[in-house]
Amino acid sequence: MSKIVAKTGNEAMAEAMRQINPDVVAAYPITPATEIVMIFAKYVADGLVDTNFVAVESEHSAMSACVGASAAGVRVMTGTSSQGLCLMYEILPIAAALRLPIVMCDVNRAISGPINIHCDHSDTMAARDFGWLQIFSENSQEAYDSLIQAIRIAEDPRVHLPTMVTTDGFIISHCLDKIEILDDKDVTAFIGQDRKANNRLLDLKNPTSVGLLDLQDYYFEHRVPVAQAMKDSKKVILEVADEFAKKFGRKYGLIEEYKLADAEVAIVALGSTCGTAKVVIDELRAKGVKAGMLKIRVFRPFPAEEIVKALSNVKALAVLDRSDTWSAQGGQVFTEIRSAFYEAAKKPKITNFIYGLGGREIDLPQLHTVFESLKNIDKQPVVQYLGVRE
């Protein structure tokens, strides 16, 4: 039997990890993700899981240990945030290139400097080109559900790529929320008992070398399949989501459309901001404004075709980025969406708002300002910073 409980985002992720019962967890604590591993370590100490918990001295070591364990063919998870994720960057693309289905709980937080512990998407967005699937969560329920689905997606033979599921630091990680926790047995049945043994790289019976020097003659051939697997993963993500919906009732896609069908003005956002934006859109709809939102749940692989299709009838669009590329051409989400629309016959006028860096509040009046600006989209700059003091 599933049960309705109150859990913070971190508690929800730790609970999903308990039910997943991974073979190995290697992690190092960092705010605001610390609790996930702390709670899970207690489950290990209390004998509630069979996990071999590896307490390491840094995130670099954590990801290295995850790579080794995953190469041996077992189910591996970890959790981190911000500078911790940055310290993993050297190893993240190795996990992808070795096609290791490691699943990570990643709590979105600003990166230094100056030092800041609060939410933005800079840490996760900087990891977008390392071959990891990236799933964002609007709330604790989505984080919990997506973490369970991530095991299936990552381990699918058509994908076999590492996957990170993210929550927004403090806003979700530390907010007590109502969520439905599935029955342990149902989770076990959904993800399957074990990772498929034939996927292991390290095998005593068939010894091979892993992580060797690979120069001009073969490196290229070993990198391109990651792109193909990333492309193929879209279908798998949707298949797993469909099965999840059939069994447990909650439906997920690559994107979520909120009142978009007849929308004339719309925004694109990721994570917790989408929940707040739903309130603003309801308020605008009550006044007769045809407002809508496209929420990106899966950022890697990037659902370009789905986004173009969903937004093609919108007249004016604001893309909200909680991170910056520092290219002076806008945030990560904006640049990818604008690029996706290049060949489209029908497209909205698009502007970019970079907002909420370092946990700067994003509230209802600010989101109303964004929608208000869409009335005069021709006068908007390509990129602007929302709510920043001059």
């Binding site: 309705i4 109150a6 929320d177 994003i362």
Partner: protein, 192 residues
């Protein structure tokens, strides 16, 4: 949004403002409500002013920004009224509940509050007598229920007792003390 009740707790680090918000959230959930409970996101230091928040609604709650216009404010430490603007954002029909020996009229005067409803209860005294030390957060939950009629006191007590039993498995006397303190504050809170 009108169906959502927003609450702000003021306390000092160590007084249990965060725990009170979490307990209230869990109690409201067990009574079938949708809830959020979250602390002010920042470094917590013993004795420094802190705040925590609740949203309680019969509808699903999707909003994730902070609470700036709470309809209910609870002050765990009366000395905060000297240094923190505890009525900030409180609407004219808002409710403020203060842990103090003062009567509501004196608190209203001190806060220069014209509208709204002011409630007071000596939660510190109650907790010292019934729990054995000064932890005003749980009795203030009793005062809140009486002042606002948010939910039925007996149902709330039942849930809170179960939660505290889990948390203080090794100290059962604390559980009974807390339950008695909530009930006493429910009875003794006065308002105007």
């Amino acid at each position: 949004m009108d169906s959502t009740v927003e609450i702000r707790w003021h306390g000092r680090g160590g007084q249990g403002a965060k725990t009170a918000a979490l307990l209230l959230g869990e109690a409201a959930l067990s009574l079938g409500k949708n809830i959020q409970a979250f602390p002010e996101y920042g470094p917590e230091r013993m004795g420094a002013p802190v705040a925590s928040f609740n949203r309680i609604s019969s509808e699903p709650i999707t909003i994730h920004c902070s609470i700036t216009n709470p309809s209910i404010v609870i002050v765990l430490d009366p000395t905060l009224m000297d240094s923190v603007d505890v009525t900030a954002g409180l609407p004219d029909n808002g409710v403020i509940i203060v842990n103090t020996k003062l009567c509501p009229a004196d608190v209203r005067k001190q806060l220069k509050l014209k509208g709204g409803k002011v409630f007071t209860v000596d939660a510190s005294g109650i907790s010292k007598e019934l729990i054995g030390r000064e932890i005003p957060n749980t009795p203030m939950m009793g005062a809140l229920v009486k002042a606002t009629g948010l939910f039925d006191i007996e149902s709330m007590l039942k849930d809170t007792e179960a939660k505290l039993k889990k948390k203080f498995a090794a100290k059962p006397e604390i559980v009974q003390g807390n339950v008695d303190a909530i009930r006493r504050a429910y009875k003794e809170v006065i308002g105007e």
